[in-house]
Symmetry: C2
Subunit: 211 residues, 2 copies
DNA sequence: TCGTAAATTGAACAATCGTTCATTATGTGA
DNA sequence: TCACATAATGAACGATTGTTCAATTTACGA
């Protein structure tokens, strides 16, 4: 459903090497698996479900992935660094207070959307049982915090009475936590105003730490 | 493992009606199921796992629960209102700034503990796919917010420049969100200081809303 | 002590699971 | 067009799933 753009890209005249074709098949399967995982969770989604969703045969899955665990691992690692990329393209276009606020607001919208929220929740649940995946989640969060802190540092410049880098790190941590918190509340239909909360969090950079 | 106290209670001379016995059996099974769900998640935990963990036969599960979904539903509804109970006994003992802070800090510790965190994550993941469960989660959060708001209202009394009840609701919402956020960060081993964050959140009651 | 009702068991069921592999289809350089 | 390598298929495997139920044990009032 959501891979229309990808299919259009496949229709282009771009010549493909075997490697590209192999990659795109693996990509198709992975995207189908993601839809299945969103629908029923990691362990309830069967290899047959994934094969059917991808429109390929059951056996073909094992040509591109060792086993089901490999597909799950690929799904969990799929959006690593995506936040940094989204932020990067924003910074490249020049950062203003309004675009920063709009970006964070859009980030909340992205994460509160049903399929994204379901996948994230599934990953957190898996992390709660599997330390290796917990470590991966932690690394993703830390990387996102670093990216955001860098953007904030460039945007605000030096600020009064504190180490600017430390302040940027604290604010990045606070903002990202807030984004996730707001996404959850929005998804659950709880009474909350993301824009207002984000606006105040940008004005009040460090409500939780004393430096 | 953790049900020793419960087993000891069973050994007491306390006479049991059939209803009590039936309930305690159901309770044993439910607690065993909770341990299984923590270990492997809702759908990966099998009825055989649960029966073995509870030390009963497979068929007996169906005497106390209609099917697996009923056990999952019982597990999801198990800790409904527990927050309110914990808070209630605190309020009954008289609320001070220190006990309130200590309570919230303990709440973070409770929710960042591995098995509690795993169960909560599993429930959220289920809520992401099942609207009925999402509604139940929302109700739990709203109930907890109401309970906390009432306690805050009694503790602070009327405050300046705003409707006290609305302010208490906002702060309760903010504090509970912060508790969950901190629990997640603690569990993942991210750099965070729960006490400091909670302390500042108590001093600054309404960082995200304009009234 | 007996008899009946409730509690408990585990073998058995069809369905589905992840995985393998012999077989077939497809594409491509000679 | 032929030959060969690679892509793709789906039937089949043993294991495990949720669920049922006839059989057995346990508990307890008469």
């Amino acid at each position: 459903m959501n891979d229309c753009s990808l299919n259009n890209a496949k229709g282009m005249k771009l010549r493909k090497t075997n490697q590209n074709l192999k990659d795109s098949r693996a990509q198709d399967i992975l995207e189908a698996a993601l839809r299945c995982f969103v629908r029923t969770g990691f362990s309830a989604a069967s290899m047959r479900d994934i094969a059917t969703e991808a429109g390929v045969s059951l056996g073909l899955l094992y040509r591109y992935f060792d086993d089901k665990a490999a597909i799950v691992a690929a799904a969990i690692g799929a959006d690593s660094g995506e936040f940094g990329q989204r932020l990067g393209s924003l910074v490249a276009d020049g950062l203003t207070g309004e675009t920063l606020l709009a970006f964070l607001e859009q980030e909340v919208a992205l994460r509160s959307e049903a399929s994204m929220f379901a996948l994230t929740a599934e990953i957190v649940a898996e992390a709660a049982r599997n330390p290796a995946i917990a470590a991966l989640v932690r690394q993703n969060i830390e990387a996102a915090e670093m990216d955001l802190a860098e953007a904030l540092l460039a945007f605000y410049g030096p600020r009064e009475k504190t180490d600017p880098r430390q302040l940027a790190m604290n604010q990045a941590s606070h903002l990202l936590g807030l984004v996730d918190l707001l996404a959850m509340r929005v998804f659950l239909g709880l009474n909350v105003n993301p824009r207002e909360a984000l606006e105040l969090a940008l004005e009040n950079p460090n409500p939780y730490r004393i430096n």
